[in-house]
């Protein structure tokens, strides 16, 4: 079998595979296992979804996966929403705006970097990849204090830009992009395109970018997942409550409730297990939505790739 490079560009997606010739018990076993694991993964979330239907007492008493009443959701929502005259909405808006900016900057810079490293003949490639790798491996605790000092120098403490900029460094994404591009586009393609007079930017816009949808979906998704729940960086950089993100705000609210810290003593804030669970759903749903969106993109991107073939 001869291998023709031009044809053999590993297709990003795949054509619908031929019908299975034999469907053995093995396949059923595999499918059952896949579904079993899926159910196992979803049960904790199911508990979170059902908990707000109950009162705090019913959470301890009733079957953990039972449903009590819709009124429970209304009550839990009201308790959350009423807290500090609706500050929750403010946290949600902060989280959305910061994350939109982070996902955009992080995905674009990382994918461009991955492309350049895989396509160019720049000398310091190895040094670049190693430094990116180091950044992925450095414990974040080591960098927090220097970053804080740095941000203070440019007067960005308590300014959302600090979190946006810091979180936009996406070495994981840059590495992923590099592997992606070097796996999907062989250097020979760039070579021939260069001979055809393509500029480096055209290499990106005409060859790499059209094949990048699945990558961008992947990058965007992981950037979002990684930052949406991020507590540490916004907690350190943004001390004023008006800049709190959802995780930081919820942390400040929840860590003083007896549901999490009974030893803290008394409270007159009606935030107990049902309210925390409801907030948990609030945090989780956007991640799932983003997953579904990026998954769609991923498939569409794959189809686009195969049609071009």
């Amino acid at each position: 079998m001869s291998i023709d490079f031009k044809k053999k560009v590993p297709v990003v997606g795949k054509e619908p595979r031929k019908r299975r010739r034999k469907v053995g018990i093995g396949h059923y076993a595999v499918n059952v296992w896949l579904i079993f694991w899926a159910v196992l993964s979803v049960i904790p979330m199911l508990w979170l979804v059902l908990a707000p239907s109950k009162t705090d007492r019913e959470v301890s008493y009733k079957n953990p996966l039972s449903f009590a009443s819709f009124h429970g959701f209304v009550r839990a929502w009201k308790n959350l929403q009423d807290f500090n005259s609706g500050v929750l909405a403010h946290w949600v808006i902060n989280s959305i705006t910061y994350n939109a900016a982070i996902v955009l900057i992080a995905s674009v810079t990382a994918s461009l970097a991955g492309f350049v490293i895989s396509a160019s003949r720049i000398r310091f490639k190895k040094a670049f990849l190693i430094s990116t790798l180091i950044m992925m491996l450095v414990p974040p605790v080591a960098l927090v204090i220097p970053l804080f000092i740095e941000m203070n120098k440019v007067n960005l403490i308590d300014n959302p830009l600090s979190v946006i900029l810091i979180s936009s460094l996406y070495p994981f994404g840059a590495f992923l992009s590099y592997i992606y591009y070097s796996n999907t586009i062989p250097p020979e393609i760039y070579e021939s395109a260069r001979l055809d007079g393509c500029s480096d930017f055209q290499l990106y816009s005409r060859i790499a970018f059209p094949l990048s949808y699945p990558l961008l979906a992947l990058l965007g998704f992981f950037a979002f997942v990684g930052n949406w729940g991020n507590y540490f960086m916004p907690y350190i950089m943004l001390p004023s409550p008006e800049h709190y993100t959802l995780p930081v705000g919820l942390g400040a609210l929840f860590f003083s409730t007896p549901a999490i810290n009974p030893g803290n003593g008394g409270t007159s804030v009606p935030i107990l297990k049902p309210e925390i669970a409801l907030a948990g759903i609030l945090v989780a749903v956007p991640v799932m939505i983003v997953f579904l969106i990026s998954q769609k993109r991923l498939i569409r991107g794959m189809l686009a790739g195969s049609i071009k073939e």
Binding site: K8, K14, R17, A38, I122, P146, L165, P186, G280, V285
Partner: protein, 313 residues
């Protein structure tokens, strides 16, 4: 035209495309890292005169050795479990592409959607035999009291469980994506040659996604060494204090923020970086991670695979 002269201005464009990332990397990666290193010998309460012997001070911290055993025990379970499970699961997902698998994949990332203070509550409930949705299973195993679960000797297993649940789904997604990028032709060819699904997975697919698996291995290793979030969550739950300074990173955090010993914290963090880095570099240089000729090597693998099949046939 000589290729050299043609390339020069073009490299400029390339550098321009690289520069936004490079700038971020320098400002928020390299620069703070250098600052962290410079700060190591600075004066602190436990190192009043400053100096590099701060490394020695950290090594004598009474919490270091327990933390080391905790983390090593954790990694011995976590790293192999993650790699084997994730590769196996993504292979299984890739066997055929039924539409329902989209929902299965969504289900796998669900545990990663819960974080922070909500995760504190959720894990507390999950592990509490009177509240847990899994209490039936727990009771079946004879676990009816929280004290059977919440004890320090169990922490390793609990934390492996937590970290595994939170992270496996995302890695399955990535490995599944990498499997998706394998050319159909190769798979068809192998299938025509009578390759079973299992052979297809181990002899064709696995070598082809090797890079991604290695990548994952490095990050899972480093992540395991730096485990922080999970013990911190357990520690701030109802059983406050149970996982205090359990891991290296918790200790480092505590040194910095509880004790104000930024130098010690950086020193510990840098020591942690060394094994990850050595591991990563060995793995990467022993493999073709950095080779330009990706395709050549994968072509070689494919060829070998096909040849092997041919011999068998």
């Amino acid at each position: 035209m000589s290729p050299g002269r043609r390339n020069k201005p073009k490299n400029l464009l390339m550098i321009l495309m690289l520069s936004p990332y490079l700038l971020l990397l320098f400002l928020f990666g390299v620069l703070p890292l250098i600052m962290a290193i410079i700060n190591v010998p600075s004066k602190s309460p436990s190192n009043p005169n400053g100096g590099w012997h701060v490394f020695k001070i950290v090594l004598h911290d009474f919490r270091l050795v327990p933390a080391m055993w905790h983390v090593l025990g954790f990694m011995a379970l976590f790293v192999p479990l993650m790699i084997l499970f994730v590769v196996a699961m993504s292979m299984m997902l890739d066997v055929n592409s039924a539409p329902w698998k989209k929902w299965v994949r969504l289900a796998y990332i669900v545990p990663a959607c819960v974080s922070g203070s909500v995760a504190v509550l959720l894990w507390y409930v999950l592990l509490e035999p009177t509240l847990s949705p899994f209490k039936g299973v727990m009771h079946w195993f004879g676990i009816t009291q929280a004290t059977q679960i919440w004890k320090t000797s169990n922490l390793t297993y609990i934390l492996v469980f937590m970290a595994f649940f939170a992270l496996a789904g995302q890695w399955i997604l990535i490995q599944f994506g990498s499997l998706q990028s394998i050319s159909t032709e190769i798979l068809e060819a192998a299938r025509v040659d009578g390759c079973s699904q299992f052979q297809l997975a181990t002899r064709i697919k696995l070598p082809l996604i090797r890079k991604y698996v290695i990548y994952m291995g490095v990050l899972v290793f480093a992540g395991g060494l730096q485990i922080f979030v999970e013990p911190q969550l357990l520690n701030s739950s109802v059983y406050h204090g149970i996982a205090q300074q359990w891991s290296f990173d918790q200790l480092s955090y505590s040194l910095a923020f509880d004790n104000g010993n930024f130098g010690e914290a950086s020193a510990l963090s840098l020591m942690l970086l060394v094994p990850s880095l050595i591991g990563a570099l060995i793995v990467i240089f022993k493999t073709d991670m950095f080779e330009d000729v990706t395709l050549k090597s994968s072509k070689k693998i494919k060829k070998e695979a096909l040849e092997r099949e041919a011999v068998k046939a």
